[in-house]
Amino acid sequence: MNLDLKREDDGLVLSVPDGGMDPAGATKALDGLSLPDTDGISRLRIEAPENWKWGTGDAAFLAALLQRLPKKDGDPVALEGVPKDLAKLLELARTAPAAKEAPQKPTGLRKHLGLWALGEWAEIRAMLTLIGEVVLRLPRFLTGRAMVRRNEVIDVLAESSVRALAIVGIVNLLMGSILAFVGAVQLKAFGAGLYVADLVGIASVRELAPVMTAIVLAGRTGASFAARIATMQGNEEIDALTTLGVPPEEFLVLPRVVALSLLMPLLYVYACALSLIGGLLVATTMMDLTATAYMVETQGAIKSANFVIGGLKAFVFGAMVALIGCRCGLRAGRSAADVGQATTAAVVNAIVAIIAVDALFAVCANALGV
């Protein structure tokens, strides 16, 4: 498309083609536009066909053209010969207040790293603050003075225990069975098939039952805590609590942390039982061991220290899953996407934390010789 642009005194005349401006063609024409050698343009007259039905393409082209024309003495270019409504639209586009600029985002790797580090540090501080808040409010909870609703506590207890029994049971039964399968194949070769009971017993009681139960609860209960609290955040329900003088740490976090910390050791005992039963089933069906021999061997293999370590892990993991779930919910933004992110973060962070703390337990137990 060629622009029909002519010089006229101190201005220009633009002839609009019959079909109006084709936006794509006009853009190319504008890019290749060579303006007459002048010290500035003061006016632009439009010569249009009689029944010109202008569209937004014409308006966009004229706005872009007016912007490019060199202005005489910096004065605005006067536009003549355009329909009134088109003139109004162009005036609106020119004078509409520009949206405020978003704050400049930092550029460069160092700035990104710095901001990331500051963000992580702030998150660690927030998590430590939350732990502190929960610990400080615990005596009020235990003496029945905390701002919590009985129904809320019962709901959390049910959600974290009765409703979790099936999944915790299945996972641990299968884990015990898998351990027994693996052990049976290897130990049978050395004629030490009976030691499958030792393997399953020690591994389940000390490591697998607390870790697997905690992971199941992280994916189930921790995620549910995060989603629930994040949704409340989006609906301003947390703000409503705060403004009523009800601290969310006390009303929402404390009952969940207490519930999971207390229930996890119980679930751990249940998980141990199911894991041992899984081992027993495989050992008795695959290896011609009697149930009595298996149980006697298990009894001899598991020392009470293993139960103490496993139980302690379960308690700590329970508190961690609840705290991480609640924290991820509390720090969530207010959109639907933020609920999803909070839930994912709760599960991922909890699983990583469980494994890291389990490793710490192993190191400490080794150092203490237990």
Binding site: A63, L66, Q67, L69, P76, V77, A78, L79, E80, G81, V82, P83, K84, D85, A87, K88, L90, E91, R94, K100, L136, R137, R140, M147, R149, D155, T231, M232, N235, E236, E237, D239, A240, T242, T243, L244, G245, V246, P247, E249, F251
Partner: protein, 267 residues
């Protein structure tokens, strides 16, 4: 309404903002007991941020906010173990009712958390507050089953649960049809007249503003400070700022028919 020595709410040289960057600066205003006070301004000017600062959800960058001469902490609104009932109730823009509770439980909850009387009395009180806002018979319903207007009314009942001296309303008419909006305005006025509550509202609705607000504060988002304070009708005529007068007069838009006659426009 005014005329008492100590204002119900006093903001003195308050700066509000996020991460140290002020959104509005130099806000100083006294709100009298029983007054209906509106916070008005263009989008993004910091109206809701000011409200959040007043109720303690955010902390002012500078200055002080006092209720009956006391800071929020002194007035009982702390988040530590010994906090008492807040001196205000708040109606959030979306209602913010607790979705897992019935309306009755929503209204009873603040009472249960702060009162140490006979729990049997809470239910009667909560039923009365729901009846006040026209929701008698809906006590056992959950927020999700209510219309927007009913949800606002229920949230208003919850805001009144602790018999607050001050009621904060964040865009009470948002999302409501004109009739529901008018009913809510009438309700607010009758609560003010019946209970002597001070009302502070953030609004964009000029109809609401003219019909219920005694005074208004205009927050200008371009200069980042308040540019007008006074009765809306008076400011619509005599405000120093052109923007305030234009804002308060935009009750309808007239359009002229287009024509093909030429007109000059400047670029």
């Amino acid at each position: 309404m005014a005329g008492q020595d100590t204002p119900r709410i006093a903001l003195k040289d308050v700066d509000i903002g996020y991460r140290g960057k002020p959104v509005q600066s130099g806000i100083s205003v006294d709100i009298a007991a029983g007054e209906v006070f509106a916070i008005v301004g263009d989008s993004g000017s910091g109206k809701s941020t000011l409200l959040k600062n007043m109720v303690g959800l955010l902390t002012p960058l500078k200055g002080s906010i006092r209720f009956d001469g006391k800071t929020l902490t002194e007035a009982g609104r702390t988040n530590d173990g010994g906090n008492g009932p807040p001196p205000f109730g708040i109606l959030f823009q979306g209602g913010a009712l607790w979705s897992s509770m019935t309306l009755l439980e929503n209204v009873m909850m603040p009472m249960e958390m702060h009162s140490h009387g006979d729990p049997a009395g809470y239910e009667m009180l909560a039923r009365f507050k729901l009846a006040l806002v026209g929701l008698a018979g809906h006590e056992e319903r959950y927020p999700a089953s209510l219309s927007g207007g009913m949800r606002k009314r229920a949230a208003l009942a919850r805001a009144l649960a602790l018999d607050p001296a001050v009621l904060f309303l964040d865009e009470p008419s948002a999302g409501l049809d004109p009739l529901s909006s008018r009913r809510l305005d009438e309700l607010v006025l009758s609560l003010r007249d019946g209970l002597g509550i001070t009302v502070v509202l953030v609004t964009h609705e000029l109809e609401s503003l003219y019909s219920i607000a005694d005074r208004m504060l205009f927050l200008d988002g371009e200069v980042h400070r308040p540019t007008a304070l006074g009765p809306p009708a008076e400011l619509a005529r005599n405000a120093d700022s052109d923007k305030v007068r234009e804002f308060l007069s935009r009750r309808g838009i007239s359009s002229s028919p287009s024509s093909s006659s030429s007109q000059e426009v400047h670029s």
